[in-house]
């Protein structure tokens, strides 16, 4: 039943899935602007943007049409609903990662000079970022509402912008920031010396966080009241 429901839900999301794909281009533009090795981060950055936009649109649509009360009025348990959402999210993430890989490959060919991506690493990072974002978004949506998902997206963008703005301004000379940058540089060096340990730590954390996000989503939905 879960597989069949996921297939039908995916069918009803095809329009949004296609519409959001337009964000591939700004995603790639951002990564090219990031510096001489922009292609290294192109896939995960693009997938993150695509997934965030997809989630914003689908949760907004769901909220407007009261999609969750509709689902909860049907003979489906909250756990089954979350399993359906997780399957759909995984499929959407795979599709967007594939699109991001193809678009990056085309860019590498036609716009050289921004380094070369580590293809397997980019694919894994894209999938990881996408799946983690999906699970956290659903956890927030099921616990709160679509507005909270939108607010969180804006806060995350703002939070991500702060370090890059700080590094490129006079603030970087402040002792606290210099100390932070030194620590970051040390961590980067350690990561470069221990790539397999880093891969295990990051991978395990991402898997655990994704699983915890979906488990929390199931708990939140089963306790949610539709006033």
């Amino acid at each position: 039943m879960i597989l069949k429901l996921a297939r039908e839900e995916l069918r009803s999301r095809l329009r949004v899935l296609a519409m959001v794909s337009i964000i591939l281009f700004p995603g790639l533009t951002f990564s090219l602007a990031a510096g001489p090795n922009g292609y290294r981060i192109a896939v995960p950055l693009t997938v993150a943007l695509l997934v965030v936009a997809y989630n914003q649109r689908t949760t907004y649509d769901d909220d407007k049409a009261r999609g969750l009360p509709f689902l909860r009025s049907l003979p489906i348990s909250p756990t089954e609903i979350v399993c359906v959402k997780a399957l759909v999210s995984a499929t959407v993430t795979i599709v967007y990662t594939g699109l991001a890989l193809i678009a990056t490959a085309l860019c590498v060919r036609f716009i050289p000079g921004h380094g070369s991506p580590d293809w397997p690493g980019s694919a894994v990072a894209g999938l990881g970022v996408g799946l983690l974002t999906m699970s956290l978004t659903h956890a927030i949506y099921f616990r709160l509402d679509a507005k909270a998902v939108g607010t969180l997206g804006a806060v995350m963008l703002f939070a991500a912008a702060i370090p890059s703005l700080a590094v490129n301004s006079a603030v970087r000379d402040a002792p606290v920031v210099r100390s932070l940058l030194q620590t970051a540089s040390g961590a980067t060096n350690w990561c470069a010396r221990n790539p397999s340990a880093v891969a295990v730590i990051v991978g395990a954390t991402a898997v655990l966080a994704t699983a915890a996000g979906w488990a929390y989503a199931a708990w939140a939905l089963s306790h949610k009241e539709f006033l």
Partner: protein, 254 residues
């Protein structure tokens, strides 16, 4: 077959500024109950409690003789529900909805669903967001009836509809009850709809049940008190909720 399809016994739920206070009523098999009340009386909250979309602070709700929280899935398989704003996914077409619900309901009858769509003139391939409110309500009704539910629950199904669509919806409600002892609970603030379709009336105001009994008994009791004058259900309703000068509630109770 149990002697009640739905029993609410002392159901209470507190909200800031509003309390649904010890709601009790019984819906018999084959009966159509109109849940009447002014806006904000607690009709939608009562329906959400029955569907376990909200949880009560105290009291019990039994559907088909089963506890509505412990046997939620089993109960929902036998319930058809149309929400206040005919909840449907915005990109879902009638055809898509039929496929989706066929997965959820083991007793789904696709031929019946298509018959309802044809009868209500609902286009099969137009997304829900492109449908008018009336057509969306008819689609939701067709979807709610196509698995032949033992209990159909409708929240303000005729609100905001034109007279033609209202007539179609009320006819469909009557047909469901005429079919093999199925029961219907529909909330409304349009008294004429309850008068036209319901055989049992529950009036609710400020979160309290004022009266719950057969429509004919209610009418004859009030008519006796009013000296056999031709009182309508609307006059009785207005009197109960405090908006008219027909016989007082106390006079009828005596």
């Amino acid at each position: 077959m149990p002697d009640s399809i739905l029993t609410l016994d002392g159901v209470t739920r507190h909200f800031p500024g509003f309390t649904l206070d010890r709601i009790s009523f019984v819906l018999r098999p084959g009966s159509i109950m109109g849940l009447l009340g002014p806006n904000g009386a607690g009709k939608t909250t009562t329906i959400k409690l029955i569907l376990n979309l909200i949880h009560p602070d105290s009291g019990s709700i039994r559907v088909f003789g089963l506890d509505n929280r412990r046997h939620e899935i089993e109960i929902k398989r036998q319930i058809g529900y149309v929400g206040e704003n005919a909840l449907l996914p915005p990109d879902g077409t009638a055809r898509w909805l039929g496929r989706y619900l066929a997965i959820c309901f083991p007793s789904w009858d696709d031929c019946l669903y298509r018959r309802y769509l044809a009868r209500f003139e609902v286009p099969a391939d137009k997304p829900a967001r492109a449908l008018s409110k009336g057509t969306r309500t008819k689609l939701a009704l067709a979807a709610a009836m196509a698995h032949r539910p033992r209990l159909l629950i409708l929240d303000e199904p005729t609100s905001g509809l034109d007279p033609v669509v209202r007539h179609e919806v009320l006819n469909a409600i009557r047909e469901v009850a005429a079919d093999d002892g199925r029961s219907v609970l529909f909330s409304t603030h349009i008294v004429s709809d309850a008068e036209a379709a319901a055989d049992t009336v529950t009036v609710i105001r400020d979160g309290r049940v004022l009266v719950s009994e057969g429509k004919d008994e209610l009418l004859s009791r009030w008519r006796r008190a009013a000296g056999e004058s031709p009182l309508s259900l609307e006059q009785i309703f207005l009197n109960l909720v405090g908006g008219s000068a027909a016989p007082s509630v106390e006079a009828v109770d005596r």
